[in-house]
């Protein structure tokens, strides 16, 4: 688990950082010691564990350091460039920078790069690169121009790959970015054009790169707050040609896009990156560590005094300018163990830790491992990229779909969506569907006239949506009284809150019959009641209803007689469905939906009384239909079960009993229900009596098995 430890300040007063921040923090030949170059005239050597400076050197008044001091790991000396062209080399014993070795160069230096194990390199502003030794042998040698006019180096990094130094630098010209990779064993310089993909107008704020065996993984943080990754091959296939590279989205909106402050990103290890910036537009700046593989925020630290948007990472320390002081935050990534998690939460998670609120797709592999499979894949990606270079970089269909949603007409969106759905499910299918629905609903809210009904229905039927993913969908459908879409949602969403279920019920009960006829509701849960009734006789039905039990004479017979006075009416009432089939289908969807009684009851009270009666009548009708056959099920493909029907009857009566009992038209229904319960109770009491007898039988059976203390048995061995 990656974690940031307690921060500490290296210095507050010594540095004259200024608003532009520091020029650089570089490693020195001793671990734990770092060279800090400020934006003016001073270089300070710090020992981090002691939190104190070991040495400080300044150039003369009037001179200005233009390139951060670095350490030559081979000799232990320090190198700095002031006034763009003047190179100074000194070591720990020297006191005055004026008196140390000086070399004036013929061209302006962009940066000196030094890593352990090789000689430092000097990168000139025109893009030329020289080894330090060669340069010092002849300081005034002519430096060629590599990059074109108006092209400016933005960022550079120096790696050792298989013991060969590799230099990468990024240039910018009129908003276009180019990457140059210089191999020093072969002296090959390859140039790549960095393509942005769909988002053309974002400006890259910060770069960082890591290297594995074949690729430099260049990550860039753009002004839109997203982190993109570009894979640059170390060994170019064709160094002569100008090649293009497409970047892929690694993280979405890790920092707010429109901050005034600087943002910075740096790679910590193969799974983690550190991002400096404010996560929301208004909030304070944060240093956050993200896991690339799981797309989660691992830890973050608020930096309330603001930063300069610069971040360096050496060893296990992150360096940044917090307020006016140089702050060091040690970073640790320990291997988590189950025991520590289960036994005691020793490293309990920061309360601030949360999962990325976007649709994360777990199925897409992250290109971060070194395995053979990954390199295979990268190769494939590369091949695709080459094709793209020749064809004209094409936007993936999902992105295209998203952009369509925002602008185009309903018809067009529908066509696009159908096209997208027709493609076999892509790995990022979930993500795209989620984004599409969110996009559509946002547009629906913004434009009241926009209601892409077919699209929404298609999306609902993909089975990847749920209520919690897009709560607005049902809200809008309720507003539009789109019963068809509501039915689909009820069928496909597993997590609809009771409030919404109840709102759907209200609409289903209140919507006029004629407007219902126009809709195209899924009817598979409704059986054709017309043909199932004919062959059944009323007498039979009551008999089965009572489960073969002949109820004793009681007060109920009175009401029975009362009912029998209108045999015609009764027959009609019980045999014909009280609602039209389409409404029945909708109500069945409600019956099938999941609910919790406690949460449903209060909402049921809001339904008008005549609707309650109607629903009760329908439920009673279903019950009668159920009890017609021995298996107590309804015909049809996906009918409501008896339990669902009974539960809903109970719920409705519980919620609205006082209202229903006062209504004259509900009287017959209530009496019927009362009779039903009465007869059920009698049946169960009879069953209880039978159970006692059965138990006795079982006991007898057990005694037979349990032979007591002594018996003589026959055993035959085979």
């Amino acid at each position: 688990m990656a974690s940031l430890e307690e921060e500490f300040t290296l210095s507050s007063a010594v540095l004259s950082a200024g608003s532009e921040g520091l020029l650089g923090v570089e490693q020195s030949s001793k671990t734990d010691q770092f060279l800090v170059t400020d934006n003016g005239r001073t270089v300070i050597l710090y020992k981090v564990s002691d939190q104190k400076p070991l040495g400080s050197w300044s150039v003369k008044q009037g001179q200005i350091i233009t390139c951060p001091a670095v350490c030559n790991f081979q000799t232990g000396e320090y190198i700095v460039v002031h006034d763009n062209k003047v190179l100074r080399i000194w070591n720990n014993e020297d006191v005055n920078l004026d008196k140390v070795f000086k070399a004036t160069l013929s061209a302006e230096v962009y940066r000196i790069l030094s890593v352990q194990g090789t000689e430092p390199l000097v990168l000139f502003k025109e893009g030329a690169v020289r080894g330090l030794e060669a340069l010092l042998a002849e300081p005034q040698q002519k430096i060629e121009t590599v990059i074109s006019d108006e092209e400016v180096i933005k960022w550079t990094k120096f790696f050792i790959v298989f013991r060969h130094p590799v230099l990468i630098f990024i240039t910018e010209k009129h908003g276009n970015y180019f990457a140059y990779v210089q191999m020093f064993n072969s002296r090959v310089l390859s140039k790549y054009t960095l393509l942005f993909g769909q988002d053309e107008n974002s400006v890259i704020e910060s770069f960082t790169a890591s290297v594995d065996r074949k690729f430099i993984s260049l990550m860039s943080l753009s002004t839109d707050g997203c982190i993109y990754e570009t894979l640059i091959p170390i060994r170019p296939t064709d160094p002569e040609k100008n090649q293009s590279l497409v970047r892929s989205l690694l993280f979405k909106a890790v920092v707010s896009g429109n901050t005034r402050h600087g943002v910075a990103v740096t790679v910590l290890d193969q799974d983690h990156i550190a991002v400096l910036g404010s996560p929301l537009a208004a909030s304070k700046e944060c240093l956050s560590v993200w896991n690339i593989k799981f797309q989660t925020l691992q830890t973050s630290k608020e930096l309330p005094q603001g930063t300069s948007g610069q971040l360096w990472y050496y060893g296990e320390n992150l360096f940044m300018l917090h307020g006016r002081s140089l702050t060091v935050i040690p970073y640790k990534c320990e291997v988590s163990s189950l025991a520590s998690a289960l036994g005691k939460l020793k490293h309990s998670q920061d309360p601030g830790t949360h999962v990325v609120p976007h649709f994360v797709n777990w199925e897409t592999p992250q290109e971060c491992g070194l395995g053979a499979q990954n390199s295979e894949q990268s190769r494939r990606i590369l091949r695709r990229r080459k094709i793209e270079v020749s064809l004209q970089p094409e936007v993936p269909p999902s992105k295209q779909l998203l952009s369509t949603i925002m602008k185009d007409s309903e018809k067009h969106i529908e066509v696009e969506l159908r096209k997208f759905l027709a493609i076999k499910q892509t790995p990022d299918f979930h993500t795209v569907i989620g984004d599409t629905v969110t996009g559509l609903l946002e547009r629906c809210k913004a434009e009241p006239s926009f209601y892409p009904r077919n699209c929404l229905m298609q999306l609902t039927q993909t089975h990847v949506l749920s209520y919690s993913l897009c709560p607005d969908l049902m809200e809008i459908a309720l507003q539009k009284k789109d019963v068809q879409l509501l039915q689909l949602c009820l069928q496909h969403f597993p997590d609809i809150p009771e409030l919404v279920t109840c709102a759907c019920l209200k609409i289903f009960l209140s919507i006029a019959d004629d407007s219902l006829q126009e809709t195209d509701v899924n009817m598979e849960s409704v059986f054709d009641c017309s043909n199932s009734v004919h062959d059944e006789k009323m007498e039979e039905q009551t008999e089965i209803l009572q489960n073969g039990f002949n109820p004793v004479e009681d007060e109920c017979n009175k009401c029975d007689q009362e009912l029998n006075e209108e045999p015609q009416a009764k027959t009609k009432e019980t045999t014909s469905c009280p609602v039209i089939p389409k409404r029945a289908a909708l109500l069945n969807a409600i019956l099938h939906s999941a609910y919790s009684e406690t949460f449903l009851l209060p909402h049921l009270k809001d339904i008008p009384a005549q609707h309650i009666t109607l629903f009760l009548k329908y439920l009673y009708f279903l019950y009668l239909k159920c009890s017609e056959n021995a298996t107590l099920t309804l015909p049809g493909i996906h009918p409501p079960t008896l339990n669902q029907i009974m539960d809903w009857i109970c719920l409705l009566l519980d919620a609205n009993f006082t209202v229903v009992v006062m209504m004259p038209e509900a009287k017959r229904l209530l009496i019927n229900l009362y009779k039903l319960v009465k007869s059920q109770i009698s049946v169960y009491s009879e069953l209880n009596k039978i159970e006692v007898s059965f138990r006795e039988l079982q006991k007898l059976n057990q005694e037979k098995n349990n032979r007591g203390l002594y018996s003589i048995e026959v055993l035959e061995l085979f």
């Binding site: 036994g343 002594y710 026959v714 035959e716």
Partner: protein, 685 residues
Amino acid sequence: MGEFKVHRVRFFNYVPSAIRCVAYNNQSNRLAVSRTDGTVEIYNLSANYFQEKFFPGHESRATEALCWAEGQRLFSAGLNGEIIEYDLQALNIKYAMDAFGGPIWSMAASPSDSQLLVGCEDGSVKLFQITPDKIQFERNFDRQKSRILSLSWHPSGTHIAAGSIDYISVFDVKSGSAVHKMIVDRQYMGVSKRKCIVWGVAFLSDGTVISVDSAGKVQFWDSATGTLVKSHLIANADVQSIAVANQEDSFVVGTAEGTVFHFQLVPVTSNSSEKQWVRTKPFQHHTHDVRTVAHSPTSLISGGTDTHLVIRPLMEKVEVKNYDAALRKITFPHRRLISCSRKRHLLLFQFAHHLELWRLGSTVATGKNGDTLPLSKNADHLLYLKTKGPENIICSCISPCGSWIAYSTASRFFLYRLNYEHDNINLKRVSKMPAFLRSALQILFSEDSTKLFVASNQGALHIVQLSGGSFKHLHAFQPQSGTVEAMCLLAVSPDGNWLAASGTSAGVHVYNVKQLKLHCTVPAYNFPVTAMAIAPNTNNLVIAHSDQQVFEYSIPDKHYTDWSRTVQKHGFHHLWLQRDTPITHISFHPKRPMHILLHDAYMFCIIDKSLPLPNDKTLLYNPFPPTNESDVQRRTAHAFKISKIYKPLLFMDLLDERTLVAVERPLDDIIAQLPPPIKKKKFGT
């Protein structure tokens, strides 16, 4: 194959005593178990968990503590205030020494194995020096206020921890004075209990003291500062026992709710050196109090009021995941408690302090396989013979003719003559037993009931002639010079010529009874003998060992029979070798010389030597009766005819050619006689 009438007997009302202590000996991989009636049993964990030795109990000798010291010497201490050392060779008590501190509650051997520490009722902790043949009182530690219930040595031997009521004391061994006194919280789930009893302590080499107490807590104390470091509340009832592994990387505790918890020292994070104790695994193999636990290098051992000895191997410590890695639950003794008189259809049941004689019923009906036949006469309880004195019965036997009963306690031997007159029984004790017949480990009558064979605990075998109410000592086979190993098993040939005797470790000796001399010795085998018998006519000695091997040895020819060699070459079926209870009785069919009848607690088997042996691919046991004739043909294809109908089977013998007697003791009947367990709230009750 054979159809039998089986007298299925379930009226043997045997209840094992509760387990009080277990002590594991790493050196010999043996486990000593003491029960509440004072019995001490020795299990050999290397020999398939066979109970190879036992010391009979004594009414006044309730053991409270058991420990191994100085290699393989076994000591126990109990509420009668005595420290007892057991003689593991002669299987008797070497000596008992009063500690003069009232009842002894706890005992611990020092890490150097040379000192013994006991904690007494009067609050004293006494140190004894172990000398080669005895123990010697050395000194007292500072007297505490209340009884010392638990003791533990620091592995360096410089300090000890003693658990008492409401507090734990840490003593300096050199000075004998208490260095720290750590008060245990009486609070139990917010309610203050009357007392908090520290049932167990364990001293670790880093100075940590782990205590378990009656408030359900497992607590870690720092003995250097006397402070509580950590507390785990693990039970609503008492935590009664604790045992730590030798490596100190895991320990086990047992609670009164029957749960055993495993604690392990695991790194806080992987690769980090910082470690902490984490409760890892709960095991619920007991229904009642777990009074005692032990920790062997590869398993957790627990025992308690529900009388089961449970050996739970730690899967991470078991290298080969074979059948040895399975859980073992030992409930019944691995010796015979029942003998039978074939002639009179009598069964003699041996209990701790009495004998019961039953006569089996009879039936005239016949039936087919599985039928229960109507009884024409029920079984009768003929005799209830209570022993005199506080000692438990070691062994008992009824003669095949049914007219003699013999039994022995640790100090006395009893012989009774029974006379049957119609339905009346006349019991007459044979008095004036000779002095050498003081205590017997095994008693056996010859087939014609004229001779009595007694294995005494001095290693001698006595032959006694019985004739019409009197007896005559014929001969005593003295053990070979230098050995004092007691003989535990005897077998006599039906013709009365041969007597086989087996000790706990050495081979089986065969004596010629006619010539009264040692005939031969069966080559020694690595695993102890669990049962043996001599076949009629052929005089082949069949020996079952605890590793489930069965050998047949021809006594006249003094070598293993061809069949036995074939079996060894071919190997037993893997399921046969994986049985976890030993064979406790072997008998033969008088008319079918090729058949060997044997049983363990869960199966009864007839081995037909004329049939081919099963290999690992054939089905050893088919629980379903055959459906048709061809099925019968197919089934009879191998030599092992197994029945698992009767279980747990304590005894099975052939009464006559077509009649068997099977004595079962259903576990439910035992559970019904145990005290009620701690009631645990379950959902809905």
